[in-house]
Symmetry: C2
Subunit: 338 residues, 2 copies
């Protein structure tokens, strides 16, 4: 193996404002052989996710920041090439946190074996992985959505949002959402079962758009975007409404802290609950979801979309494009043939 | 009775920005006799509370707005003068929502009889009334404070805040707060048992002041003030912290909607829960509190401060003074001798 070269993406510099290609560097090194207890993984699919933007800043958070000069980390589906770890054998397919690179060495602690079969491998990075689990935890554990509730989700065609909407429909809720193009809006209402949706880039008045798609207000807001969209959602909440605060992607590239929604008195007057969450705090709900979701996928009750870029060199571009809303559904980078 | 005159305070105009004396008018009319099922109450103590500012605006909320030209409403402790209502007899002491006036006619629906004894009558408008109940519901039902939690309360020497701090100490929490004068801060730490407090008007840096009084951060923030104080509190929260959003008095006189706290991403990163509440949604907890608080008062475990203005003509001034933080403890207006 030592002659095989491994192409890797490292953090070259911390972005100030929007991420650019200059913040990344592509390097190549010889593959090391796995040591005692280690295994070598050939990376097939890699996930790029909004939360990674936070890890590019040098700020303490629930996950440590990426370090300059080091290989970036991502959720990866790959196949074991060679193993000195009794829990993994050559040819096993695995999913877990590995590097933005063609091959990764791992001690196995962050890896889980997956079965191959009817379900495409990449789904383990999306609807069956962290984004799908995030949708389930936010909707049920955090917002405690009830049948008949009016649910609104922003970034509704994204990896998380598209699952939120479908789970809410399965649960008997009314579902509306917003997305950043007419095509995405059509996907929501024509294929994913949303009751209503709007394109926020065309909206003349966000409160007006919310009133159109949620004429009776919102019981559960699954918030992925923040900023003005969050503000308009808050103003549309019904008494005793719940907000699952999952992300605020509109703020991730801001150089200065942005103010929160105006008119926060509605939180008191309408007795709202706003709760932030991180999916990894809820392993039992995640496990519960994984079983249910595999069944719903098999029954055709869950639809799933991916945008797939090709090649490790294109991972930075795919990440930047995703932050700008260029993807529909889950943004994946394919690093090798399955 | 028909010769007795009744002095009343009516809403003359809706304030734009800060409330002024010009928004009120004093009128006088002859006392009507109570009709069938009605009783006549001689009002003794009247409560002025921050939430009344919201009722002066013409906006739909959980309580209907005051109407121009009509007598304003307030929590009142009074004594029955004459009664055509079988539930109330002459000389009974009562508490409930009546008018900003010397005498009120009532059908009894909003009134509750109170016992006279060791506890001063005015306490039923404060520590034994709505403000005390608000403290209890916010701290326990909403924020679910646990023993050992680090609790912070803003407007800590006020009618609600001073009870929040003492209840938290009884519960085994560490308690810090802020108030608007050095005298109030001394009251908090020297007499009400707070572990630490600061004067926000002297603070050079609110985050710095929070770091001083809560060096290990905040588990429970009982928010009465909003604005920059809320922002600094939010930034000081520990993982899984809870905010009981009770009031945002710093915004009540704003002519335009003010933005919320900057940096709301901490809600996600630290998995915070922010919940607005209205005390009247929680009658069982209120009843539970009333029994406990009477006991704690009798045992000397709860201290209580009032600022008492004299005479119905001074009610508008007392209300305005309270909105500006001129009171220490509960602001009361005494309308007649007990």
């Amino acid at each position: 193996m030592s002659e095989t070269m491994n192409k890797q993406i490292r953090l070259a510099s911390r972005p100030s404002g929007w991420v650019t290609e200059e913040n990344f560097t592509v390097t190549e090194e010889a593959l090391p052989d796995p040591g005692d207890g280690q295994l070598l993984v050939r990376n097939i699919f890699m996930s790029v996710d909004p939360y990674m933007r936070g890890r590019m800043n040098d700020t303490k958070s629930y996950v440590p920041p990426f370090q300059i000069g080091e290989v970036l980390q991502a959720g990866i589906v790959g196949q074991v090439v060679s193993s000195n770890n009794a829990d993994f054998a050559e040819s096993d397919y695995v999913v877990g946190m590995l590097g933005w690179e063609n091959y990764s060495i791992s001690d196995g602690a962050q890896l889980r074996k997956i079965e191959t079969g009817a379900i495409p491998l990449s789904y383990h990075l999306g609807i069956l992985g962290m984004p799908g689990m995030t949708a389930y935890v936010g909707l049920h554990t955090i917002a405690q959505a009830q049948a008949e509730d009016s649910v609104f989700v922003s970034a509704a065609s994204g990896a998380v949002g598209s699952v939120v909407g479908q789970l809410a429909k399965i649960h008997g809720c009314r579902v509306a959402g917003c997305a950043g193009s007419d095509d995405k809006v059509a996907l929501l209402t024509d294929e994913l079962g949303f009751d209503a949706a709007f394109n926020y880039r065309n909206s003349k008045s966000l409160p007006g758009s919310f009133a159109e798609v949620c004429p009776d207000g919102i019981d559960v807001n699954f918030e992925n975007v923040g900023g003005e969209i969050f503000e308009a959602a808050l103003w549309s909440m019904r008494d005793f409404g719940r907000v699952a605060l999952c992300g605020m992607i509109s703020n991730y590239n801001d150089e200065q802290l942005q103010p929160g929604p105006r008119g926060m008195m509605v939180i008191i007057g309408r007795r709202l609950r706003i709760q932030g969450f991180i999916v990894t705090d809820h392993p039992e709900a995640c496990q519960e979801y994984a079983v249910k979701a595999a069944g719903w996928l098999a029954e055709g009750k869950l639809q799933y979309r991916e945008t797939i870029a090709e090649g490790i060199e294109n991972a930075p571009g795919a990440f930047i494009n995703m932050l700008k809303g260029g993807n529909t559904g889950k943004q994946i980078v394919q690093l090798a043939a399955a």
